[in-house]
Amino acid sequence: MSPEIWQITAFTLGVAAAGTGLILPFGVALAWLLARRDWRGKSLVETLVALPLVIPPVATGLILLKLLGRRGPLGPFLDSLGWEIVFTWRAVVIATAVMSFPLLVRTARVAFEQVNPRLEQVARTLGAGPWRVFLTITLPLAGRGLVAGAVLAFARALGEFGATIMIAGYIPGETATLSLSIYHLVQLGRDTEALGLLAVSLLIAFGAVWTGECFLRKRPA
């Protein structure tokens, strides 16, 4: 593999990991709330979370572009923090984070729902406060499902294109992920080179999804 392909692959893995890491705490917390609590407006939250899964990725990208652009509503705020987002690697991380979020939340929610609430209740009667119950009972029992959710989110992040091209664009060395690079090469008519990147993408995606599915399969009794 050429050094260029290495760089692009390493960059793609890096931003996918960063994006997944970014949504992990918030996504798991939200999944727990959706699994265990009820509140007015819960359906609205569920719908909003599912949106990036359903609306075209470029549409999500457009929304992000309008929100995060230098002259968008968040522009001045981001400027004051010295954070430039659009057309930088940060945009890639954000795009992958947003697109992977629904997948993480859904999988994690199911994982929490599969933990018998009776176990948590009994733990409380044995003197454990809510945090101790979460850490010693809920989390270990939901563990495999949570890992599966993270891995699937990571796999989704690896292949992200539509939203990424909108807010990050293709800048070699700065925002060039595997999918963006494939697109760019095809545009230049360099299809055969694109095939090399394609092979790498398939390999990584296969590995990621396979791992995720392994964790989703029930533990042998």
């Binding site: 572009l65 002259r71 057309f87 293709y170």
Partner: protein, 249 residues
């Protein structure tokens, strides 16, 4: 009784035959001018026009892959040569209609401090929006110009490549790029950017907009008629209004 229906048919048929639908593949920079000319032509000819406006490279690729186009109006000769070599155009219909000049634009509202091309190399410009510099005509022209000035090595790292010249313009409008190089005609239609530097036609690259009818055109006659219309003085007045230049002789 025989005469009446035959008379009616004679009146309607030519109308039916003449009502062609034309697929016009044209460079993005021609958008506004063509949108103004379209209703005029449709009313006059009875034909329907359907536009596919994008970077000329994307259009050329689509045509090569079999997209149903009747007329191709490109922003550079190279794309037209490409199709000619592949035997896809009617050579006798090819002619160069227009030219254009490049400008450097910045945001109209407190944009970056740029008044000459050299300013593009300063820290004031952190990101420079160009159309993709190896494939899209506007980007090719811009890179050609910057190479000529010896500025390319200094600005190459700042370049954000966009899909076509209108996307380039949008990037500057949104403030996501500090400056951009687009056609003068693009800068003129956008109130959100101002021209920081206009490249004199003599110093800039030779920009040419050729047009041709495609060999596989659905209705060759209607396509030729439209191409002729675009070459007419009526159409030229509109193009010049938008800032295009007549084809360099």
């Amino acid at each position: 009784m025989h005469l009446l229906p035959r008379l009616l048919l004679c009146l309607i048929l030519p109308g039916l035959l003449a009502a062609a639908e034309l697929n016009v593949f044209a460079a993005a920079s021609l958008s506004d001018a063509l949108k103004e000319l379209a209703p005029r032509y449709e009313a006059k000819s009875g034909d329907k026009l359907r536009f596919n406006l994008a970077g000329s490279n994307a259009l050329a690729r689509q045509i090569k892959e079999g997209a149903p186009a009747d007329v191709f109006f490109s922003a550079d000769e190279a794309k037209m040569d490409d199709l000619a070599k592949a035997g896809l155009i009617l050579a006798d219909t090819r002619r160069t209609l227009l030219s254009n000049t490049l400008v450097i634009v910045v945001h109209a509202d407190g944009g970056a401090a740029v008044s000459t091309p050299d300013d593009l190399a300063t820290p004031a410009v952190r990101r420079l929006a160009l159309a993709e510099t190896q494939t899209v005509p506007a980007g090719i022209y811009a890179r050609e110009y910057l190479l000529k000035l010896g500025l390319w090595p200094q600005v190459a790292a700042k370049v954000v490549a966009l899909e076509n010249v209108r996307a380039t313009l949008a990037a500057v409008e949104a403030g996501n790029a500090d400056a951009g190089i687009v056609y003068r005609t693009d800068a003129l239609i956008s109130p959100k950017v101002r021209i920081a530097f206009a490249v004199p036609a003599a110093e800039g690259p030779a920009i040419a907009y050729p047009i041709a009818v495609l060999k596989d055109a659905g209705s060759g006659e209607a396509a030729r008629r439209f191409a002729d219309f675009l070459a007419s003085s009526e159409a030229r007045t509109v193009f010049l209004k938008y800032g295009f230049l007549p084809a360099a002789r």
